[in-house]
Amino acid sequence: MPPNVALLEARALHARYGEIEALHGINLDVAQGSIVALLGANGSGKTTTLRALTGATRRSGSILFDKREVIGHAPEDVARLGIAHVPEGRGTLSTLSVWENLAMGAYTLTDARRTRARYEKLVAYFPWLAERREQPAGLLSGGEQQMLAIARALMMEPRLILLDEPSLGLAPIIVSRIFEILRTINRDDGVTILIAEQNAAAALALADQAYVLETGRIALSGPSHDLAGNEQIRKSYLGY
């Protein structure tokens, strides 16, 4: 089990799009080395939560990352602290090549040898990256683009990786492959993961802790096996 030291602590986190408040003050804890799932229906605020954490969406409240307040930091500075974000739609740099996407992932690393070492390591997880490194990333299949987005996020040697619906639109076999890799990354490299998912069953099987969002509020939270084991909760909140 991961040690129970908080890597990320969000308190009374609000987020708004113009006049409309989309997140009404949530509290969220992500322990060092853990995998935390963020569940909920479409429009419940999963994406907004992740965007609020990185600063891509206007937010207020408090977000401590490794005991440091990040509210007020621009997204590029949040990234530099070691929070990688795989956004909704994967954020593929589609006209750039696969290698250029990965190189951009390592943008914050100043040492070219470290970039090289990261690349070698990721090629071990995703061998096809090496074969297709010169191809435009936009020509990859959806599943490959998702894996590329994860690989790109891992290039910066993040301490925390935020994943927004990595399973969206992908075949089940691809999803289980991606989740398997996430588990490996978490176990072997100690990368902490916060994953927003609609696929509750898969996400609960992966995660240690889970939060269920409902219209911008936390409706429920707890260890994932408790949530998955409670039929009442599964039926009313998770839809399976």
Binding site: A56, E76, A79, S94, T95, M104, Y107, S141, R152
Partner: protein, 293 residues
Amino acid sequence: MHDLAQQIVSGLATGSIFASMALALVLIHRSMGVINFAQGEMAMFTTYLAWQFSQQGMPLWLAFPLTIAIAFAGAVALERIVVRPVERAAPLTIVILTLGLLIAFNGLAGWIWGYVIKAFPSPFPTTPLHFGSVAFSSQDLGIIAVSLASLGAISVFFKKTKVGLAMRAAALYPESSRTLGVRVGWMLALGWGMAAAVGALSGLMIAPVVLLDPNMMQGILVYAFAAAVLGGIESPLGAVVGGLMLGVGLNLIGAYVPFIGTDLQLTMAFAIIVVILLFRPAGLFGRRRLLRV
């Protein structure tokens, strides 16, 4: 045949000026989605600086690099101070701002240096170069060599360096780039700096030909715009090829089609803009965007 070869080389020389200015326009357009109408006037202004330096007795080999460095630093500052407040405004707002800069630089140059046309020293020898029995103007060959070398260097910079890659990513995918830790605003400023440096170089190259006056770059900017549209406003390579094609094409038409001659060249440039926008808006090198959802 000799005449044709000379016309082509001379067309390539003006074409490489169009190509450099077109590249400057494309660099800004890619990152901001607008044409910087002040690009030509910025080049004109820095050319005056070089003239001033050489009047003070500074040798050209020092005055030219110094001018280009000032153009770069000045444009970075201009972007950070003047353009940044409207960076996320509607395109029309930014266009109006660049038009304002056009008028400001033009007026400022006239106010400081006056409107009397000045001769500008050429860095190239006046004796022609002979290849077999054909003589080419050293000036033309020099312009072509310097322009192509600088365009080549820029291309290597964008393809092979980390900052070049980040500039491309920031221009095309600002939000994704931010999540990767790229300071997109500074990349934009660097783009302005590079565009101004390329522009300054074309000003320095063309000033001995068209002579120095506050309006010297206005026609050239129209040709550059035509070249950029011809090649594809999204494509740096297209801008360069478009510029060279336009230079050679206009020169040949000027020499061999008496009906159009040199009087209607600017009209031809406008005609090219209209025809391309009507029939092939992406230009010759414009790519359809790759997208998979």
